[in-house]
């Protein structure tokens, strides 16, 4: 092999390139394959997680900017720090995220600049028709301020009590005999044992002849009488779903009645109206007090009439009144006369999803023009007296009313089971409060001027295939007060069961 000069041929020399080249070629070939396998596994979430990050530096194929224009400005760059951010000047604003698979939960981490806004909430649009949003707290300055100096007590299940003066040693003691001073709540429904010494049972009950769509919660009051209430319901079958109806009655958190009315058997969107059925709630021998009646169902279910032996009955937080020409084809007999409501609350959101529902709503002395469909119109009380009950007139109905408060269909039916309590809103003044009850909230971390907050949102209740998700950032009163809010970074970590576990469950269990 050796040449006559004693030199090895080129191919036989040490570090022979002939051996190096295939290795180098293999590496060059394998690098893109490895990267693409990684991208594939990540995109299709083989491990069960998908991380989507957006820093507003450019466009992302999976995440949109905040919109609509006007409420959210164009992306901007701070030339001194090179940070890119998007300013929010109105609310609510939305952000779309497209994911290749449906997930169970998402952990959202947001970095933002918020010098003035007292309440920030972030959540998901869970349904578009009708419009429904689930919000979670990002920042609540009333609680943050109280946390600095007030006495703090917490239960095992995460209910926190803040007291200006430490009068109670536990949350249980507080709930057993709540104070007379103003109590604020947040992410928590305060079930104070309400008692009305002036109440007495009366003969002849009430009948509510308005069509209410979807789930509703009611509160009634009884004393030495049988709790009796009847709901006439029909199924519109407008959506592809199972329209079970569950009616449960609670005293505080204790259930006293539970009934399930199964679907009419039509799960397709046939728009065939089911026959009318009646759910009868009849519970004798209950002690005096306020009772909450929760009707859990889908938006295909319409309550056509409510009859009750009680004469106090209020609707809690959410009311969807139909009684509009829009539904004439489905309900030829529908009464489209105006609806008068009694309402207690300091903030009310009104929305219609149909052009026939455009109208001017009268709330006390104020008017709220509903001029666009699919967009929430907000009314805020100018009154500082918590006990004021406003009269609302809905000229043509077909409105979704959302509030932290109670609605009644007649003034003599109205009562406020949450007397002396207020759900914290952007107008809540900490000086007015003596104690705060809340849960599901931790203060954001703030470094210099940037706050960072993380929330876990469940995607279970989101309608559709859960691949096109719309997130909501709510900053109540931002536009009115001309406050500034800027978001500079947002990260979504979507989670579902890993592929291996799902395959194992499918084939081996």
């Amino acid at each position: 092999m050796q040449s006559r000069l004693g030199i090895l041929p080129y191919e036989m020399r040490p570090h022979n390139p002939v051996q190096v080249i295939p290795v180098a070629k293999a590496i060059i070939f394998l690098i893109p394959i490895a990267v693409f396998l990684w991208a594939f596994a990540r995109y299709f979430s083989l491990s069960g997680t998908l991380t989507v990050h957006y820093d507003f530096r450019g466009e992302s194929p999976m995440v949109s900017e905040f919109y609509p224009r006007g409420r959210a400005l164009d992306r901007e760059q701070n030339l001194r720090t090179a940070e890119v951010y998007q300013r929010i000047v109105g609310e609510p604003v939305y952000m779309d995220v497209d994911v290749p698979r449906s997930f169970d939960t998402v952990d959202v981490t947001m970095e933002y600049f918020n010098p003035d806004q007292s309440i920030l909430e972030f959540g998901l649009v869970t349904s578009r028709e009708p419009w429904a949003v689930a919000l979670q707290p990002l920042e609540n300055r009333v609680i943050d301020e109280a946390l600095l100096t007030w006495n703090r007590t917490e239960t095992n299940d995460g209910i926190v009590l803040l007291q200006r003066e430490p009068l109670y040693s536990s949350v249980e003691e507080f709930l057993a005999s709540p104070p007379e001073h103003h109590i604020a709540t947040y992410q928590y429904v305060l079930a104070i044992d309400y008692h009305d010494p002036a109440y007495s049972a009366e003969d002849g009950g009430i009948t509510i002849d308005r069509q209410l769509r979807g789930p509703h919660d009611f509160v009634t009051y009884i004393k030495d009488e049988t709790l009796h209430i009847e709901f006439d319901i029909v199924d519109m079958n407008r959506e592809f779903n199972v329209d079970d109806v569950r009616v449960a009655v609670y005293q505080g958190d204790t259930p006293v009645f539970d009934q399930l009315l199964p679907d009419d058997g039509i799960t397709e969107a046939t728009s065939v109206l089911s026959s009318r059925q009646t759910i009868i709630v009849d519970v004798p021998n209950l002690p005096e007090g306020a009772y909450r009646i929760d009707m859990t169902t889908t938006n295909d279910i319409v309550i056509e009439q409510i009859r009750s032996d009680q004469h106090k009955l209020v609707v809690v937080n959410h009311l969807y009144i139909m009684n509009n020409e829009e539904y004439r084809s489905v309900f030829p007999e529908t009464a489209t006369s105006p609806t008068a409501l009694q309402f207690s609350g300091r903030k009310l959101t009104l929305q219609t999803d149909h052009p026939n529902g455009l109208q001017t709503v009268v709330i006390g002395e104020a008017t709220v023009p509903i001029e666009t469909v699919h967009s929430p119109h907000v009314w805020l009380s100018e009154n500082t007296d918590w006990s004021v009950v406003e009269t609302i007139t809905l000229p043509v109905n077909d409105l979704i009313l959302d509030a932290k408060g109670f609605f009644a269909f007649a003034s003599d039916q109205f009562f406020d089971p949450n007397k002396n309590t207020e759900y914290i809103n952007e107008r809540t003044e900490i000086d007015e409060l003596g104690s705060i009850l809340y849960r599901n909230y931790t203060s954001p971390q703030t470094a210099r001027t940037i706050s960072t907050q993380s929330r876990t949102l469940t995607l279970d209740g989101v309608s559709g295939d859960r691949k096109h998700l719309t997130f909501v950032l709510s900053a109540p009163g931002l536009d009115r007060e001309r406050f500034l809010l800027a978001v500079r970074d947002i990260q979504f970590v979507f989670t579902r069961e890993p592929l291996v576990n799902r395959l194992r469950k499918r084939f081996f269990q």
Binding site: I21, K25, I28, F36, A39, F40, Y43, P61
Partner: protein, 63 residues
């Protein structure tokens, strides 16, 4: 030796990266965000362009 390796590997890398760049574009079209969430496609394109330029000069030097 380095010159010899470069003259072989750069054109090889160009061909491989060009094919994968086209695959990446196709995948990005079909599954938006799949590739761009992992690598920056504009950097990928510049890599392919630089490899093409080097390959061209290597080819001319050989000729």
């Amino acid at each position: 030796m380095l010159r010899h390796l470069t003259s072989i590997l750069v054109p090889t890398a160009f061909r491989i990266f060009l094919v994968w760049y086209l695959i990446a574009l196709l995948l990005e079209l079909l599954f938006p965000g799949m590739v761009s969430a992992v690598i920056r496609l504009d950097f990928f394109l510049w890599t392919v362009i630089l490899l093409a330029v080097f390959s061209f000069f290597i080819h001319r030097t050989r000729a």
